[in-house]
Amino acid sequence: MTPNLVSALSRATQRVGVPQVSGPMAIVPLFGPDRVGYAGPRSGLRLGDVHTYGSLDVESAGPGLCIVPLHIGWIQKGAQNHALCRSLFLAPGEKVRVDDACCVQASQGGYLEGADQWFFVLPLGVREAALSLRGTNEYSKLWDAITAFNKRFGRTRRGHLEQVIGSGRATLTRFRSRFELLDGQSGALFFLRGALVGFELAPNPAYFAELWPALVSFAYGAEAWGLEAHRGWQPPEEVPLAGDDLEALADALQAERRAHAARLLHAAERLNPRALELRSEDRCSGHELFTAEGDDFVGQVVRRDDDSLVYASLYARTASLEALLAA
C-alpha cells in the first residue's frame, strides 16, 4: 500500500462521533468533508434493464460522479433480484452493462412482495465471497454463500437471500431507529461484540444518508439480528453504576462512556491500512477504484488524484466474522 493512501485513510475523517450501542452491535459515526460533485445511490443511480440472469444495466440518474456502492443489490417485484460483486464508476449520464452480477434468488419461488424497487447491500456474511467472484460471469455463483448465510438463521438452505432480508425486513429496518444517522455524518465504523467488522465511508453526508438504511439494516444489521435472534446473544454483565450522589453518578456514567469509546477505537486499530494490498480496478474523472485485501479485512476504496479518500467499504473477512459470531 502506498504511503500516500496510508495518510489518506488517516485523513479520511475529520471527526469521530459518540458511539451508539444497541444489542450486540455498536457504531462509531464518522464526519468528513461535504464534497460536491457526487451522485448518491438512491437519487443518482438507477437499475436499468435486466438482460438475463446475472446481466443488467446500471445507469447514472443525476449530475455528478456516481460511485456505485460495493455490493449494492436490488429487490424488484416480478424480476430476479441481483447484487453487484464490485463497485464501479458512472459518469453523469453513463450507462454500464454489468455481466458479473449475482442472482440472489435460487429459484422462481423467491419473489418478494412489494411494488417498489428497493436496494440493499449484501449482508456481511456473503460480501467476501461476492468480492472474490467479481469478474466471474455466472449468475448462480453466490448461492453457496447465501445458503450458508441462511443456514445461520435457521432458514432453508437455498440461495434465496430474501429468506433473511425479505422475510426479516420489518425487523431489519428497525435498525434505522436503533442507530440514528446524525447530521453531517459521512461514514461509520461498525462493531459486533466489540470487534470491528466494517468501515464505511462516503464522499459526502448526502450520499451516506442515502446509503445508510441499506448498510445499517442489511449489511450489518442482519448479522446483529442473527446474533440476537438465532445465537442467543445476551448482553454482557456490567458493573453497576455507583455514586454517592447525582453528580457522582453523572461522572461515573461519563467515565464509563469514555472508556467504552476508547475500547472501540482501540478495536478499530485492527484495521491496519498498511497491511492492505491494493489492486487498481477502475478510473474516472480523477478518481481511482482499488480492491483492498488484508489478512482480516477486504473491500474496495476510491481515492482521488489529490490523494484524498472519498469512498471506502472495508469489512471483516468471512472467517474472521464466523469466529467472532461463534465466540
Binding site: 459518540v18 444497541s22 434505522r176 436503533r178 444517522l181 450522589d245 453523572a250
Partner: protein, 456 residues
C-alpha cells in the same frame, strides 16, 4: 363503563425507591383486573377479590378513594368503590370529604347498572352494616328510579331485601303499605323521598296484586372516566391521531405560514383546556432525536405526538422544566421549526432533569435509546443508592396501540405509560402526575378526578 382508551400502566413497583403513595396504589388497583364481586343468595360470605386492597385504600384516604371512581376503570371496580363508600362511616371526615363522598355515591348510582347497584347494597346487608347515608342513598335511588316498575318486576326479592335492611323490616313494610294505600310514608318523607304514584309498585313489593306496568324498560346511565373521545380511525395515519399532531405535521411538511402556526396554537389551546392541571414542578425529558422523525408511512408520527404532548404540558404544568434529548429546543415556540435530529441520550437527559429538583420526571420518547442502550436502566437502578428518589416515568409515544415494543423499553424497571392518540393525553397526564409524591401528587389527583365529577 370499561375504560375507552385503556392505557396499561406497567408499574414495576419492585424498582427500589418507587413511589407508592395511596394515589398510585389506587390507580394501579383500578387499572388492573377487578375480579369477582358476587353476593351468593345464601350464606354469610361474599365472593370478592381485591376487597382488602379496596378497603385499605378507602381507609388510608377516604376522599381520594371516593374520587377514584372517576378514574378510567371498570364498573367491576366501581361496584367495590360504591360498597366501600356505603360501608364506611363519615365521622372524622372533613365537610369537604363528606360532600365528595355523597356526590360520588350519587354519581355511581346513576352510572352503574341496576344489578351492580343492588349487588353493592346486598353486600352491605351481608356484612350487616347500617349507615344513615346508605339508607338515604338507596331510598333516593330506588324511589326516584325512572324505570322502577321494570326494576321491581325483575328483581323484586333483591330490592325488598335491601329495603328491609336499610330501613329495618318493620319500617320497610309499613312504608310500603302506606305507599300502596296512598298514605304518607313518614320515614321516607323525612328522607326527602317522594313516593306519589308508586302504589302499584309498593303493592308488588309486598307480593300483593299483579306486576305493575313498566312503561320505561331501563334508565339512561352516566358515563364516567376521562372524556369520551371520537371514534378511533380504522386505518391510522400520521395525521389522524389528533388535531394537534396533525397540525404540526402539516406545518413541518408544508411551507411555514402564520395560518399553519395559528392552527397549531388553536389546537394546543383546545386540547389543553380539557386537561388536568399540575401545580408542581415537572421535569420533561423530551426525545427529539433522529429516530423520532421516523420514515415511510410513519414519518413524523412520533415527533409530532411527543411535541403535542409537550405543548399541552407547557399549558397545564405550573413549573415545567424541559430537557431535550437530541435536537436542542428550549421553548414552545421552537416547536414550529422543530426537526428531530441527533442521537438519543436518555440517561444524560434524566440526570439533567433531576438537577432541576423536580417533583417528578417524565421521559417522553419512542423508546429507542441509541447512546449506549442500557445506560438509562443502569442509572435508574443506581439512583436510590445515590439518595435520589424522585419518581421517573417513561412515556412512550406509539404509532398505534399495537406497536411492537421490542427494543423500545430502555428501562424496564421504570413505570411506563404510552399514548398514540391525542385523546390519550388526559389519562396519561393523570397517571403521570399522580406519581408526584406527597401533597403535590394527592392534590393533583384529587383535582384531576374531581373535574370529571358530573352534576347529577
Amino acid at each position: 363503563m370499561t375504560a375507552l382508551h385503556a392505557i396499561p400502566l406497567r408499574d414495576h413497583v419492585s424498582a427500589p425507591g418507587a413511589h407508592t403513595g395511596v394515589g398510585v396504589r389506587l390507580l394501579d388497583l383500578l387499572s388492573g383486573p377487578a375480579g369477582r364481586f358476587v353476593v351468593p343468595r345464601h350464606g354469610t360470605t361474599i365472593d370478592w377479590e381485591h376487597h382488602a386492597t379496596h378497603a385499605t385504600c378507602s381507609e388510608a384516604d377516604p376522599e381520594l378513594y371516593a374520587l377514584g371512581a372517576l378514574a378510567d376503570t371498570t364498573d367491576a371496580h366501581r361496584i367495590q368503590v360504591l360498597f366501600q363508600l356505603l360501608r364506611a362511616g363519615r365521622s372524622g371526615l372533613t365537610e369537604a370529604a363528606r360532600h365528595t363522598a355523597d356526590r360520588v355515591v350519587t354519581v355511581l348510582l346513576a352510572a352503574l347498572s341496576d344489578d351492580d347497584v343492588l349487588t353493592a347494597f346486598l353486600a352491605l346487608r351481608r356484612v350487616r352494616v347500617h349507615r344513615a347515608h346508605a339508607t338515604r342513598a338507596f331510598a333516593t335511588w330506588l324511589f326516584g328510579h325512572p324505570a322502577l316498575a321494570a326494576l321491581v318486576a325483575r328483581r323484586r326479592p333483591a330490592v325488598r331485601d335491601v329495603l328491609d335492611h336499610v330501613l329495618g323490616v318493620a319500617v320497610s313494610r309499613a312504608s310500603l303499605r302506606a305507599i300502596a294505600s296512598g298514605a304518607p310514608a313518614l320515614r321516607l318523607d323525612r328522607l326527602g323521598v317522594a313516593t306519589e304514584d308508586l302504589g302499584p309498585v309498593a303493592a308488588w313489593l309486598l307480593r300483593d296484586g299483579s306486576a305493575p306496568a313498566a312503561p320505561v324498560a331501563e334508565r339512561a346511565r352516566l358515563v364516567l372516566g376521562s372524556a369520551p373521545a371520537a371514534p378511533r380511525p380504522r386505518t391510522v395515519t400520521v395525521t389522524n391521531r389528533g388535531a394537534l399532531s396533525a397540525a404540526l405535521v402539516h406545518l413541518w411538511r408544508g411551507t411555514p405560514s402564520d395560518a399553519l402556526r395559528s392552527e397549531v396554537d388553536d389546537a394546543v389551546a383546545a386540547r389543553a383546556a380539557t386537561l388536568p392541571r399540575f401545580d408542581g414542578r415537572l421535569a420533561l425529558v423530551l426525545d427529539t432525536s433522529a429516530s423520532m422523525a421516523g420514515y415511510g408511512d410513519r414519518a413524523l408520527a412520533s415527533v409530532s405526538q411527543a411535541t403535542a404532548l409537550w405543548l399541552c404540558l407547557s399549558r397545564c404544568v405550573a413549573d415545567l422544566r424541559l430537557v431535550s434529548a437530541g435536537a436542542s429546543i428550549s421553548h414552545p415556540s421552537a416547536a414550529y421549526g422543530l426537526r428531530a435530529a441527533g442521537a438519543t441520550d436518555l440517561a444524560s437527559g434524566v440526570i439533567d432533569a433531576l438537577r432541576t429538583a423536580p417533583d417528578l420526571v417524565a421521559v417522553v420518547t419512542d423508546g429507542y435509546e441509541t447512546v449506549r442502550s442500557g445506560d438509562l436502566a443502569r442509572l435508574v437502578q443506581a439512583l436510590p443508592g445515590a439518595g435520589v428518589d424522585t419518581p421517573i416515568v417513561l412515556c412512550t409515544v406509539l404509532f398505534t396501540a399495537a406497536d411492537d415494543l421490542t427494543h423500545r423499553r430502555p428501562a424496564p424497571g421504570l413505570p411506563e405509560l404510552s399514548c398514540w392518540h391525542e385523546d390519550d393525553f388526559d389519562a396519561l397526564i393523570t397517571r403521570l402526575c399522580a406519581r408526584a409524591p406527597g401533597p403535590v401528587g394527592r392534590r393533583f389527583l384529587c383535582d384531576a378526578l374531581r373535574r370529571r365529577l358530573p352534576e347529577v
